[in-house]
């Protein structure tokens, strides 16, 4: 981030949760069946919210920010992710 620049610039610093916990927008929640998961990490890459993180090589959903779009469930090649209605 530029400092000591006497200018207004259209720049901002990425920060987790700057707009609040967007997981509250969710209607369907993804759930990973780890018995089926083959750790291909496709879901990690496709999640538009970057809300699937890796924990010991296993995908783990960050429900604070997952908006429940269902892209991960759709893209998982082995059908390890299912969408469950939350409300």
């Amino acid at each position: 981030m530029p400092e000591d620049v006497n200018k207004y610039l259209p720049l901002s610093k990425p920060k987790i949760g700057i707009s609040g916990k967007t997981g509250s927008w969710r209607i369907f929640a993804p759930e990973i069946n780890y018995e089926k998961c083959v750790k291909c990490h496709i879901c990690v890459v496709v999640c538009p919210e970057a809300s699937i993180l890796l924990e010991d090589d296993r995908p783990k959903i960050d429900y604070d920010y997952c908006k429940g779009c269902g892209v991960c469930a759709r893209e998982c090649p082995v059908g390890a992710i299912t969408m469950r209605r939350e409300r």
Binding site: M1, P2, K7, Y8, P10, L11, S12, K13
Partner: protein, 389 residues
């Protein structure tokens, strides 16, 4: 090969030499007549190992501008060139360059917008982009093409400015016409030091460009651009002064005046028509008419103060424009109008549309019109030759 020397070449080559001497590192462009030979020449410099740069071939002008916005955002001096419909296709991306404060430089070979298909000179392509926050210069000969390109980089990258710059050269009249001009080679290094960006994308310190901003913060961004463009009047004058000293030129500043000291009547124009008007001025002077010429070198920022100062004492201004804002007047007329209002000055003005669609403009045409205007025989808004249509 590397020092200062005079060569005989086209306006498009002049741009290419300036880009080479500015040590531009990334060029992205899509071919369009009459711009194409600019990037062909640059590609040749790169292929011959005379220039260390990357040429990105893209599928459209929109992508060309997007590509150099990307490279400039990585802190790399970048360039593109286009014309007419290519410039129109870039329109959206032009806003990204200026609003993101990326000081790219672009050459625009001014060409008529179609239909009808017409590859000849007209300022209308660039005029449609005059409100975006780009610095805009208009060259009248190949020396100016070369010099204004270098001066544009210097001003655009100046930390007090940080706005992109467009160098305009008229189709064929300059782009494909050979004339002698001096190139400065490696001597430009001190004038134009390595690019030191005010912001850049850095994977180790990630930032977001162009995220959602509040209306109030956005307004501050626009104000900052406004202030920077106002400041550019001073910075351009400084950059020109230093250029004159280093390379032995004698540019006056944002405008060029000719025989204005005792003038009763002023011709106001830009580019090659502005230079032709100097010949007309000499002819009219020989006939005893006290005429002078004011040529706008930099149209953005509009040199309001300089123009008003030189027009003080003049009884009539005759503007010659190679474009029109259909339904209003010419673009120079509009800016002269705002200048007069702001400076609380009144003047008798004729706005003449001439050279539209690439029609030739000779000093004789200008002489005829000026004589009619002085006699009071000319409509305030006049299309040259229209009485016979």
């Amino acid at each position: 090969m590397s020092g200062r020397r005079v060569i005989i070449d086209t306006g498009n080559s002049a741009v290419a030499y300036a880009v080479k001497d500015a040590e531009v590192k990334v060029i992205a462009a899509y071919p369009i007549t009459p711009q194409t030979t600019i990037v062909e020449k640059i590609a040749q410099f790169i292929e011959y190992g005379q220039m260390d740069a990357k040429m990105i071939r893209v599928e459209s002008e929109h992508s060309a501008m997007a590509a150099i916005i990307g490279s400039e955002a990585m802190g790399v001096r970048s360039f593109t060139a286009t014309s007419s419909h290519g410039l129109a296709l870039m329109h959206e991306m032009l806003w990204y360059a200026s609003n993101a404060r990326l000081p790219v430089v672009m050459a625009v070979a001014n060409r008529t917008m179609g239909p009808p298909w017409n590859i000849w000179a007209d300022w209308g392509d660039a005029m449609a982009d005059r409100d975006i926050g780009w610095i805009m210069s208009w060259a009248a000969n190949n020396q100016e093409v070369y010099d204004f390109t270098l001066i544009s980089y210097r001003v655009a990258e100046d930390k007090r400015i940080v706005l992109p710059a467009m160098v305009n050269l008229e189709a064929f009249v300059l782009t494909h016409t050979s004339m002698p001009f001096e190139i400065c080679g490696e001597e430009t290094r001190e004038y134009l030091p390595e690019y030191d960006p005010v912001w850049k994308l850095d994977p180790d310190d990630p930032i977001i460009m162009g995220n959602l901003f509040s209306p109030a913060d956005t307004m501050k961004l626009r104000w900052d651009m406004w202030e920077s463009m106002e400041r550019a009047k001073k910075v351009i004058a400084e950059a020109i002064r230093e250029y004159n000293e280093r390379f032995n030129r004698n540019y006056e500043g944002l405008i060029k005046t000719y025989k204005m000291d005792d003038a009763d009547y002023a011709i106001l124009s830009m580019g090659t028509i502005g230079e032709e008007a100097e010949v007309a001025t000499d002819v009219l002077r020989e006939e005893g008419l006290k005429v002078g010429t004011v040529r706008i070198n930099f149209f953005r920022p509009f040199p309001r103060e300089d123009i008003i100062k030189t027009l003080n004492g003049v009884s009539k201004v005759i503007i010659f424009e190679r474009s029109s804002s259909i339904g209003a007047s010419g673009q120079i007329m509009q800016d002269l109008g705002q200048s007069l209002l702001l400076e609380k000055m009144q003047l008798d003005v004729n706005d003449v549309f001439i050279g539209i669609g690439g029609t030739d403009v000779s000093y004789e045409d200008i002489v005829n019109v000026v004589k009619k205007a002085i006699k009071g025989d000319l409509a305030p808004l006049y299309w040259y030759g229209s009485e016979g249509w």
